[in-house]
């Protein structure tokens, strides 16, 4: 389905995840973050978003455990930065698919 953000139209699935990563930009990330209850993306948020996108491009599956070992952020901080389901929210903001991981 289509979604309009800041005058730009993007393709998203029924849960609001971008289906075409090439349509992603920082404005879109900021807007999705607001919808997800994160009013402002700080440098810490951006470094996590970069990391997630990098893992996605390398086709490495994401998990909470890997985030904790990434050296980018620890698990406690990750939950604090993206409250209420951090991996779900962070990937949505990063414009990549929702991870199918249980751990």
């Amino acid at each position: 389905m289509e979604k309009a953000i800041n005058g730009k139209t993007i393709q998203v699935n029924e849960e609001g995840y971008l289906t075409d990563f090439s349509q992603w930009d920082k404005n879109i990330a900021t807007e999705i973050a607001k919808e997800e209850g994160i009013p402002e993306l700080t440098n810490e948020h951006w470094s996590i978003i970069d990391y997630l996108q990098d893992q996605y491009k390398k086709e490495i599956p994401l998990s909470i455990r890997k985030i904790g070992k990434s050296g980018v952020v620890d698990i406690e901080k990750f939950y604090a930065l993206f409250p209420q389901g951090p991996l779900k929210k962070a990937t949505k903001i990063a414009g990549i698919p929702k991870p199918a991981s249980c751990i």
Binding site: I64, R65, K66, G68, D74, I75, E76, P86, K88, I103
Partner: protein, 160 residues
């Protein structure tokens, strides 16, 4: 105030067993809840206390007797070394799936905001002290206190 539409908001998980498959079931359910933005608390009681017992938690085994899904005849399952063999095989498979060991999993749960409690009655029965247990637990509490912590709309309780 937002309207309640039946979603799960909090999982109260009671772990009463110390076999590896049950401990992991409880941990994955608690962790999975947090990943979805659902609150999670785990109450360790009876043999479940071994999962947070410092000296025992890295030595938990899979049950090979009385478990038809293992597809090992019960008589063979009871032979010396069978539990250890089945356990090492299962741990290898879990490694492939990037599953953490028990201690690391407890650390992940703690960092993810899962609250963990030891059952007071079972602690007394097994002559255990809080110092014997994993340091990330919230405390030693009674069943009644655990129920109180589950108060609120959308709480589910699960006995493992």
């Amino acid at each position: 105030m937002t309207e309640y539409n039946g979603e799960v908001r909090k999982m109260m998980i009671i772990l009463s067993k110390a076999t590896l498959e049950n401990v992991y079931a409880a941990f994955v359910l608690a962790n999975g809840a947090r990943m979805e933005g659902i609150e999670a608390e785990v109450f360790f009681t009876f043999f479940g206390l071994e999962a947070i017992h410092k000296k025992k938690l890295e030595h938990l085994h899979v049950a090979t007797v009385g478990n038809p899904a293992m597809h090992i005849p019960t008589m063979l399952g009871g032979l010396p070394g069978m539990e250890a063999l089945a356990t090492s095989m299962m741990k290898k498979e879990m490694d492939k799936l990037d599953m953490p060991g028990v201690h690391e999993f407890l650390d992940i749960l703690k960092a993810s905001g899962v609250k963990m409690w030891a059952c007071k009655l079972a602690m007394e029965m097994f002559h255990l002290k809080k110092e014997d247990m994993y340091e990330g637990i919230g405390g030693v509490i009674t069943v009644g206190e655990f129920y109180k912590k589950g108060a609120g709309i959308g709480t589910h309780m699960l006995f493992i």
